[in-house]
């Protein structure tokens, strides 16, 4: 049998039965018929509707709040204010949010102050107008650098400024001395908005002292933790049923409006649904940080980088508490012998900022790519060649290894908890285990006819009146999940009829987790894919897991799914060996739902899983047959210490030098994510990431009012998103050829590197068209402004 489950340890993807196949996602039919339910579609019997009262001020203390008129409105069931909220801080994943549900202080225009529950949304909305609030206006600050000054208005009780996060290796003074020249630049990045079309809603219901929540979330486990922290109730009394979300990109981990829903539901003792409008989603939940990058690189005449020194500031908005961005460009360009990256985060009176797709690598990564290109320009080296020369290869040291002053903890702390015996088979930590930009740059350059179109730095390959055409290449990297705050786990159950179910906390935002986890489990178990289902959102059945952030799902959750499947299979084969085959379990395997001997010469017996379990069931005093439950038997190695995924994007574009308009003509997205578990899903992640990054590069930016910090374009009319006609219809993808030693069947994370690679590719192509750099977003106006200021 060529393709057979019997070869599950094989590293040859062509031997896989279901792993690596582009099968339609399991919910495809629901998706195209509109029957897949999102949180906004959810209804619970007896539920009432909630609306949130939002602050008109950027920074204020509520000195008096009178809800009596609102409560008196017919149809209103109750109102909550900070006086009802517990005095407990809660945090979401990665310190993207830290605060109390309501605390009587508002920190950005649109911040939550109170909430009303009523029999209809309309009545709840009308009731909001009847809540009377008096404020003590506090001074406010919107500029991150101003907010860092000691005399700036303090927004958080812990102060505005977190300790700097530093990654350093070698000696920057030496790095400068070894260089033949040094180049530097400063870039201020606009804030990107996730603009989640799926919006969100939250339904919370209390039964006695137990709470159930339905909402779209990518991080069910951490959401449950948040509720536990915010309300001081045991985890056993909290159940989160996370539903699929529309594209989230970091919006829908846990959000404070969910906690307010819980508070309101407790007050009125009825299920409460709060549904956010599009404007609320875009202006009151989360956004990408505003970031300022100041970088310099030292380089030798032969194109060897000797120095990488970057100072980077990120704003956390009102409630963010992060001290870093995940910036794996550090590692991608880590061959540089000396380096120092310093991240400084600070709060501002703007809506909370935090992780959005490829956090840090979209922004700081763009700055690094540009400074590196500036070096390549000086030595007149082709940018593909410059990257091949200076970017990390497998086996080389990861610069991000030991963190310094890292709120989330360090790898050393993590390792302390793992016995030596369980770390024996781990890859070499702090070194890149597999993958790089090498294979994909070479393949991509060839497929794109890079050498044919590359005309030299700052030289368009075609000039037609005011229109110039040029190509560009950009690379990006990101981690494949991280291990702090808790590991990943999964549970796999084999049912008496031979079907199986995976329970693993993950998100569903179109990245196919309900399908790819099933592929992993099916491949490992030897059970047909059609008989394997996945539960990702119910915290009552899914063990703790980071969920879908930091490109965690395929690599880490998938690893746990495979490990749990292995354990379930072991239990199954122990039963089969003992009860029917009269052999050692190690002699057996499962293929296509049938248990048989591994040894081809032993053809009999071959019995279906169902046959074995049902045969055994009658005498199964311990109940083993009906309750095979597998879970990982050993811990996963810490991904951030060895795993990265990489993308290289090639773009061909045209700039109209009179109007500044940019037209994307052709796109090639290449990616190294190890084994591609499902190409149909993967191609979408690569192009989808490209479009997200391209949007950041060309047209997306939040506009903040200078006086109040209010977002002026929290709508899709003026927060511009790319359309089908804005992106090359023949955008292609190419996969790299690597096999991850740890990831399930060689697969690695995938969702974020493509978002990081897109912008630099466009920026470089624009440089090549115009002979000058343009900052993002490269709107027509910004291009013309740059052209005019240059002349």
């Amino acid at each position: 049998m060529k393709n057979s489950y019997l070869q599950t340890d094989s590293k040859d993807p062509s031997s896989f039965v279901i792993a690596g196949k582009g099968v339609p996602v399991k919910d495809a039919k629901e998706k195209v018929t509109g029957t897949l339910k999102f949180a906004v579609d959810m209804k619970v019997q007896g539920m009432v509707h909630g609306k949130i009262l939002r602050s008109p001020h950027a920074h204020a203390r509520i000195t008096h709040i009178d809800t009596s008129k609102a409560e008196a409105l017919p149809g209103v069931l109750g109102v909550v204010t900070h006086n009802d909220a517990p005095n407990l801080n809660w945090e979401n994943a990665w310190f993207n949010y830290r605060g109390k549900v309501l605390d009587g202080i508002v920190r950005f225009v649109g911040d939550e102050m109170a909430a009303v529950a009523a029999t209809s949304e309309e009545i709840a909305e009308a009731a909001l107008e009847l809540v009377e609030v008096e404020y003590e206006i506090l001074p406010c600050v919107f500029d991150p650098e101003k907010a860092m000054k000691p005399d700036a208005p303090q927004i958080r009780e812990e102060g505005n400024v977190r300790d700097p996060y530093i990654v350093e290796w070698g000696d920057v003074t030496k790095g400068e001395q070894e260089a033949d020249f040094v180049v530097d630049c400063e870039i201020k990045f606009a804030s990107q908005q996730m603009a989640p079309l799926g919006r969100n809603a939250c339904i919370a219901e209390w039964n006695g002292d137990r709470v159930t929540m339905w909402t779209s979330s990518q991080t069910p486990s951490e959401l449950r933790d948040g509720i536990h922290e915010a309300f001081g109730i045991p985890l056993s009394k909290v159940r989160v049923c996370a539903l699929p979300s529309g594209s989230s990109f970091g919006s829908w981990w846990s959000a404070n409006f969910m906690m307010i829903t819980v508070l309101l539901a407790k007050k009125v003792r009825k299920p409460v649904k709060i549904e956010l409008t599009n404007e609320e989603c875009m202006a009151t939940v989360k956004r990408r940080h505003l970031e300022i990058s100041r970088g310099r690189m030292g380089c030798k005449k032969d194109g060897t980088l000797t120095l990488a020194q970057f100072d980077h500031i990120i704003d956390n908005g009102g409630y963010g508490f992060k001290d870093d961005v995940g910036f794996f460009c550090v590692d991608n360009w880590g061959r540089t012998s000396h380096g120092r990256y310093v991240i400084q985060s600070v709060n501002t009176n703007l809506v909370t900022a935090g992780c959005m797709r490829a956090v840090g690598d979209v922004t700081l990564g763009s700055c690094v790519e540009r400074v590196a290109d500036m070096c390549a320009i000086q030595v007149n080296m082709d940018p593909v060649d410059f990257r091949l020369k200076n970017q990390i290869k497998p086996g080389e040291e990861l610069r991000m290894q030991h963190s310094k002053g890292y709120l989330k903890g360090s790898i050393d702390e993590y390792l302390d908890g793992i016995p030596e015996a369980q770390r024996r088979d781990w890859p070499k930590l702090f070194h890149l285990s597999s993958g790089s930009t090498e294979d994909i740059l070479i393949k991509g350059a060839e497929a794109f006819d890079w050498k044919g179109k590359w005309n030299g730095w700052g030289k368009p390959y075609s000039i037609d009146g005011p229109k110039r055409r040029a190509v560009g290449v950009g690379t990006g990297a990101h981690v494949c999940g991280v291990e702090f705050e808790g590991n990943v786990s999964a549970v796999v159950r084999i049912n008496p009829d031979g079907s199986a179910k995976v329970h693993c906390a993950a998100g569903r935002q179109g990245q196919g987790s309900e399908t790819t986890q099933a592929q992993v489990a099916a491949e490992e178990l030897g059970i047909p894919f059609d008989k394997v289902e996945v539960e990702t959102g119910d915290t009552d059945s899914c063990p703790w897991s980071h969920g879908s952030l930091a490109s965690n799902t395929m690599f880490r959750v998938g690893w746990a799914t495979r490990a749990a499947s292995r354990d379930a299979k072991r239990q199954l084969l122990e039963i089969a060996a003992r009860e029917i085959f009269d052999s050692d379990p190690s002699e057996l395997d499962v293929n296509n739902g049938v248990i048989l001997f591994k040894d081809h010469n032993k053809k009999d017996p071959q019995i279906s899983i169902e046959g074995v379990l049902n045969h055994f069931r009658g005498t199964d005093a311990l109940g083993q047959a009906s309750s095979i439950t597998g879970r990982p038997a050993y811990p996963m190695p810490p991904s951030s210490a060895f795993a990265r995924h990489f993308a290289a994007h090639f773009v061909d574009l045209e700039v109209d030098t009179e109007t500044g308009e940019i037209k994307l003509l052709d796109w090639l997205a290449t990616q190294d994510s190890g084994t591609i578990m499902n190409p149909q899903v993967m191609k979408n992640q690569m192009i989808g990431g490209a479009i997200c990054g391209a949007g950041f590069a060309i047209c997306e930016s939040l506009v903040f009012d200078e006086e109040t910090g209010r977002i002026k374009n929290a709508n899709l009319l003026d927060y511009k998103l790319l359309r089908a006609a804005d992106f090359p219809v023949n955008g292609e993808v190419i996969y790299g050829d690597s096999y991850d030693p740890v990831g399930p069947f060689g697969a690695r994370g995938a969702g974020e590197a493509p978002a990081a690679a897109a912008g630099p590719a466009i920026a470089q192509a624009v440089y090549n068209a115009l002979g000058m750099w343009v900052d993002m977003p490269m709107t027509p106006e910004n291009v013309i402004t740059a052209l005019h200021s240059d002349s």
Partner: protein, 293 residues
């Protein structure tokens, strides 16, 4: 604060006008509603009645009459797309309509509704000005006709009196060669025009006999640059060279008074007046030259 309103459905234009005369500014004519719905949701529309025009049977035509095209005020933007084949000017109108909003919104939006909303960036309004279009208006006191150029008073303000209803836009089609062109700059494929330029040029025996140059998003209303127009009149088509185009563009830019808003800054808009005017004049002239051959 969103104020609920009552729904009224007239069956004839006369009924509609009578209802508006009765309720005055407590009522609004509601055509496609693409603008009014958003204003109401933002709490910016305080009315007691909406007068739904979409059931009026006789206002959604696009008809060719000798020497002119008559567009009913309730014709949708999509209808203009379908009517684009009738003549070279309707082709430009159709092309311009296709640049606006989305297919779905074009199906709902009406030519009249779009004009009456009087946004400074309304693409068709800018073009209608350059094409010498006329607007026919009906009120309880009778009907009148005004040049579209004189229809707009300010941002979201027209010369319509309380009860008046826009009935029809008439495009005069000339006897002698006339070509037009419309261009706009936007940030993405679907966008409100950051700035736009519409040009029409008439010629006889290869000489420019008349010209209209209008601009959008550079003033509270669509404006004409009469100085730029004068530059072209009397010239032989083949004399319209790069220098002339440059001058015309420059003159148009000086007639514009753009502001900065969330979409674009005024310096950029000012600069683009020149660029777009140059390009629209050039293309119109090229079309005429082609026609001559």
């Amino acid at each position: 604060m969103k104020q609920p309103f009552e729904y009224l459905r007239p069956n004839t234009s006369e009924e509609a006008v009578a209802l508006k005369a009765k309720h005055k500014d407590r009522a609004r004519y509601w055509a496609g509603g693409t603008d009014l719905m958003l204003q109401w949701r933002a709490g910016e529309l305080d009315i007691d009645y909406c007068i739904d025009l979409t059931y009026l049977p006789t206002l959604s035509y696009v008809e060719n009459e000798q020497g002119s095209v008559r567009i009913g005020s309730m014709a949708s933007l999509d209808d203009l797309d379908y009517a684009a084949d009738s003549n070279q000017l309707m082709e430009v109108i159709g092309h311009t309509a296709r640049l606006m909003c989305t297919k779905q919104t074009r199906t709902i939006s009406t030519v009249g509704g779009n004009m009456c909303n009087a946004s400074p960036s309304a693409d068709l309004s800018v073009l209608f000005v350059a094409l010498d279009c006329e607007a026919t208006i009906m009120g309880s006191g009778g009907s009148r006709t005004v040049l579209v150029e004189n229809f707009f008073k300010g941002v979201n303000e027209t010369i319509l009196k309380d009860d008046e209803l826009l009935i029809e836009i008439r495009l005069p089609v000339p006897e002698y060669p006339k070509e037009a062109c419309y261009k706009r700059i936007a940030r993405t494929f679907v966008d409100i025009a950051l700035i736009s330029s519409a040009v029409s040029i008439s010629s006889t025996n290869g000489v420019v006999t008349d010209a209209r140059i209008s601009l959008g998003s550079v003033a509270p209303v669509p404006i004409r640059s009469r100085t730029a127009e004068q530059k072209l009149i009397g010239l032989n088509l083949l004399e319209v060279d790069d220098d002339i185009l440059e001058e015309a563009g420059q003159l148009a830019a000086t007639d514009a008074s753009p502001i900065s808003d969330v979409r674009a800054g005024k310096v950029y808009r000012q600069d683009m007046c020149k660029v777009l005017t140059r390009r629209t004049v050039e293309e119109s002239v090229q079309k005429l030259v082609q026609k001559q051959k």
